[in-house]
Symmetry: C2
Subunit: 200 residues, 2 copies
């Protein structure tokens, strides 16, 4: 059986959101599953010297326009939260805690987080917001909240981020198909071509 | 009549090359013409603080792999010249000198320059190489060579680059369709969608 497609993303990346709404369906058409891996781009930026998109003069104006336009093309409600970019620590840790129990649930949770951020402008750096959202999906709120403060879960996220950077993940979305990396929400067409042809 | 599509590119940008081989045909399908504008990305980088792609840790490894893969997808011979990136001053100045006389000739010249760089690894920062190439296309070699050293042509390129940066051009290829900017060779599908629909 083919290995899963790896989907590295940061909740604080609108382009990650755009890729997330289509990637599972796209992979499914070719009998493939997607393994979601939230990361924190800040760690990659420390290695690369790159900066958050909206901090770059000239490019920031383009990006603001482009993300709104990209969202319209995908028929997605879209707004940037007031606090942006943000460190998606709580949501990412919660993802890995859920993922260890039920990867399908973790993926539904991640999709709900993305919709809350970019559909409703929610502040998901708020631990209680994250716990409430998970609770609404049937997760034991107190257990999750306790886990979010644990050294074990902090270490889990750190290890995932370090592993991603060691693999060369410098931006998001960063999607790996059979060892072949594709960066950017605008590369889904090339990913589909790769899945259809087995590579070129 | 619709205004031309503006195509800002740097000869020292492989992604500009990839866009260049398809953009005129794509525009032509919708009755549109493309106005080619070579620029020097270094001037934009001074404003944005961005760096050449191959100077960025982590990202550089991806880019090397991606440009080779992108070229294969487009069925293009491809190699990076030994001196890369390079300042495409001579080729860009020559373009504008030709463009003032015959824009179709200037475009053919630009396409030949791109093929020489990425198909054959040529060093187009060499003034004599540029003059020889133009001469082979019927251009008066001595006149071109004299123009390349003139203050007037230096100023022309500088003014074009400054105007591009003032418009927000921070990278290349940067393509403007009816005032709407699209950055990157991987955005031709969105550009086509824009041409078909008139925007979304």
């Amino acid at each position: 059986m083919a290995q899963p497609i790896e989907f590295y993303f940061d909740f604080s990346s609108p382009y990650s959101y755009f890729a997330s709404v289509r990637l599972d369906d796209l992979a499914g058409h070719y009998g493939r599953v997607v393994r979601w891996r939230p990361i924190l781009l800040g760690a990659a930026f420390k290695v690369s010297g790159m900066q958050p998109l909206l901090d770059i003069p000239l490019k920031n104006e383009y990006v603001r326009r482009d993300i709104a336009r990209f969202a319209r093309l995908l028929d997605l409600r879209f707004r940037l939260p007031e606090k942006f970019p943000f460190a998606a620590v709580a949501a990412s840790r919660a993802f890995y805690w859920l993922d260890a129990q039920d990867s399908a649930l973790a993926k539904r949770f991640a999709k709900a987080i993305f919709r809350q951020i970019y559909g409703a402008g929610a502040d998901v750096s708020d631990v209680d917001f994250v716990c409430d959202l998970a609770s609404g999906m049937g997760v034991a709120r107190d257990e999750l909240k306790a886990a979010l403060g644990s050294a074990e879960l902090k270490e889990k996220l750190r290890a995932e981020v370090d592993a991603a950077v060691a693999k060369g993940v410098f931006g998001a979305p960063y999607i790996v198909v059979d060892g072949e990396p594709f960066w950017g929400a605008d590369r889904l067409a090339q990913i589909e071509e790769w899945l259809v042809t087995g590579g070129w």
